[in-house]
Amino acid sequence: MTSKISFRDVTRTFPVNNGAFTALDGVSLDIGEREFVTVVGPSGCGKSTLLALAAGLDEPTSGEVTVDGERVTGPGPERGMIFQQYALFPWLTVRRNVEFGLRLTGLPAAERRARATHAIELVGLADFADALPKTLSGGMKQRCAIARAYAVDPEVLLMDEPFGALDALTRVQLQDQLLRTWSAQRRTVLFVTHDVEEAVYLARRVVVMAARPGRVQEVVDIDLPYPRTEQMRLSPQFAALRNRVWNAVYHQPPAAARP
């Protein structure tokens, strides 16, 4: 499998008042073309930092992040990002939010409209195209943000705890919707979550990270077939995988003890 996103010995330190804080320490990771990879880990282990580096919103202190073999030097429309807090422009309607990225590409208005409409329909927000974000529920807001990312048709989707603020039912619905679109369009997805169940349900591989310093603890292959179903969620294999990831996340040896 060719690798779409590559982290090569990536370290990111932040200057703090007494020296430097190591948010990521020598992270190496390859994400294959059209692969769905989730990242779990305790809070503060550098998950958001990892995504920001892939998005080009941040730069590694040392090491290299490449997408399609090219070094990431800034954000690009081939990499879409979804934030936990939705990050919708509150002064724009759903449609205008979705069109935001398209307007920057200089697309003809008719085409822009058509693509926005398509993205809005894909996430089931057609009836709310002219609504302002403040009138939407959390789940609808996140669907709008997802449509906004889909609209520019990125090859890579970077998602930072996108369903973290939603209620359990909405979360499951959006997980299934995300998997459906992914199956149909096969983007590369790097999905950060702190929910072990979600990590296992969505991914082909789960990257477990550890904190202080942020690093990759373990990568767990999820050899469950797609499409994932509710049955699968309740199966013994799923439970076994979930336990394994759970243990990797919550029973981490302290940093000093690692080889």
Binding site: P90, F100, L132
Partner: protein
Amino acid sequence: MDIGVPGESKAAGGTATGAARATARPAGRRKGRSVPAPVLNVIALVLGLAVWALLAWRGVGGLPGPLAVARRGGDLLRDGTLEGDMVASLRRVLIGFALGTALAVVVGFLMGWYPVVRGLCEPYIQFFRAVPPLALIPLAIVLMGIGETPKIFVIFLAAFLSSVVATLQGVVGVDRTLIDAARVLGARDRTIFLRVVIPASAPFILVGMRVGLGSAWATVVAAELIAAQEGLGFRMQHAETYYDLDTIFVGVIAIGVLGLVMDRLLLLAERRITRWQERR
């Protein structure tokens, strides 16, 4: 019983989520039998006039009654004095206010956007914020003479200082993730500035403008004490020398009414422009 003042602004910061609706329309949404706020307002006005009339009738402090003041107001209107004074005062306020807030928006944005500009400007802005604009009147007269310039300058400064900080806060407070979201969608600095930073800080700017207008209007009366030939402040000052209380009352009322009208107009604009805001 608690009474909502109609149109009371909740512009900067609010409280509980549930209060959102009630904030927007305080009048109609109170418990069943209570009197609507506008009616109470009218009752208050009538009562106030009655108390005033009573005090005047009893001859307290040589106070002129409402009727005398209304008559004087009518006279001043008829001979064009009041209109001329209002136009003169409004002209000064509007010019000073327009220049002040326009510069405040530009400087506020630059300060918020470039830390260097902020570092350079901040000490001066903090210093002049600590000086009441009126305290600069003597200086302005000496430096700029007794024409229109020093008056407009002082009003300009009052408006500028009170809205520059609001603009700065707006720009600094723009949610980082909104900027990040725009960047990953392909926006460059210029686009981010025009399509994210400006709309996101619009509510702050408008609040700043309202505060700026308030302090500009408050400053005009004092500014017109600088050897003016007309203006509401001048008229009252002039009337004072003749112990002409009627005219002073007319001046006070005109200043209040004009100030209120301008504030409500800005509030209306603010409401329209920031309709997208979640009223917390």
